[in-house]
């Protein structure tokens, strides 16, 4: 009896030691051993893709009836907007040309020239502690760790793990994420962080706001371009609340991201990492 029990203890300690080794080896986001993840993600991702597509179809049909009611009023409004915008567009074209010429004169380095790739979100993070989702493209499509992820509204996050056919994206409201940001109006540098409590409501916080900065609700926040991760000038969101802490030098604010993380379906990944790899 004792020998049997002793045997089990040996097996259990051996498994735990092996797992601890696995944890330490795969802890880094660029770890080579993350390849083992493909055993599960490669067969899983096409199926997830299919189910996500079916889910979207169902959502669309359900929403169709609701949307058709509001569509007429919205249509009128949009027509009016289109008319306005067309006149503005002419102005923009002229400015763009002018801008290009001036940039050429100054030999300005463009930050936003990388190749992009559109991706579908095929699954949300299965746990409760993180704000991570899976997209349907991986290292096969040239995506690498730390590539920025955007959509039409603004900044979504960055790629944290890459498998063969899929990759994981950490959104900016995750507690692990921090983004170097800039207040659009006053051009002050701040840091945007995910917060455990605000995350559940789809919000995040702005830290290190100096006390002499004029900051008010409704101000826009954009990426600063100071870090090498995110391109400059991408809209992040707007301030919904400014909190002045008693007895603390600087204050912080609560940000509502421009991206609606609950209804996110498609994103764009900028392939920064692959280009850097080519240079080496």
């Amino acid at each position: 009896m004792r020998r049997v029990f002793g045997n089990k203890i040996v097996i259990i300690s051996l498994v735990i030691v092996l797992l601890l080794v696995l944890v330490t080896v795969t802890a880094g986001e660029n770890s080579k051993l993350s390849v083992v993840r493909n055993i599960i993600t490669v067969p899983l991702s096409p199926l997830q893709k299919g189910i996500a597509a079916i889910g979207d179809k169902i959502k669309d049909t359900v929403n169709f009836f609701r949307d058709s009611r509001t569509a007429i009023a919205e249509n009128e409004e949009l027509r009016e907007q289109v008319r306005q915008m067309e006149s503005e567009l002419d102005k923009v074209y002229r400015l763009q040309k002018e801008n290009e010429n001036l940039k050429k004169l100054l030999s300005f380095k463009e930050q936003f020239t990388q190749e992009t790739v559109g991706c579908n979100i095929i699954s949300k993070d299965s746990g409760i502690l993180f704000e991570i989702f899976t997209i349907d493209r991986g290292s096969k499509d040239g995506i690498s760790v730390n590539d920025p992820v955007l959509n039409a509204d603004g900044l979504v996050g960055r790629v944290s793990r890459v498998d063969l056919l899929s990759s994981k994206v950490v959104s900016i409201i995750d507690t692990e994420s921090s983004v170097s940001a800039r207040l659009s109006k006053s051009r002050d540098l701040v840091i945007l962080r995910g917060d455990a409590e605000l995350r559940t409501e789809g919000l995040c916080r702005l830290d290190y706001v100096p006390p002499d900065v004029e900051i008010s609700v409704g101000d826009k926040v954009e990426t600063s371009g100071m870090s090498s991760l995110y391109p400059k000038g991408v809209i992040i969101g707007e301030i919904v609340q400014v909190i002045k802490n008693e007895g603390q030098f600087d204050y912080h604010a609560i940000i509502k991201p421009a991206v609606d993380f609950k209804r996110l379906e498609e994103v764009v990944v900028i392939k920064v990492g692959s280009e850097k790899g080519d240079e080496k």
Partner: protein
Amino acid sequence: MSKKILTITAVIFGTSLLQSTVMDYFVIFKAKPNLLVIVAISAALLRTDLNAAFIGLACGLTMDVLIGKALGWYGIILFLVCFFIGMINSKLYKDNPLIPVFFVFTSSIVVETLYYMVYYFLKGYDEFLFAFTNLIVPESIYNALLAFPIYKFVFYLCKKVDKFHYTHSRL
């Protein structure tokens, strides 16, 4: 032996597929059930210690892959929890529906709390109370609600597999 492993693989694969896709539509009060924990605990209630522990390990590692962090923490935690349940389950009356409900509820709390403890070890536990009351407990209640039907399903599968092995070992 091979049929057993095939069944376990198929169940884990199917569960992780459901977990990562369909479960997003079943979010109530920001809580989402974790099917892999329920399957692991249900299997642990029906198997002997080391068998149970390895099923827990497989479920845990799959959770690690789905979550996209370092591989192995859920693996270790579920391995130990399932081993413990596998050791004491011979003393339990398994037809009582409250047994899986109780074990899934407590194990979900233990597993998620331990993971939180490990993961935020260096970052501090400032937000622990919030995470515990708003994320971990609702998830565990949701898991407990789903425990009995999933337990019945795993029970049925176990019976099928055992019957297959029994008849084949006699031939």
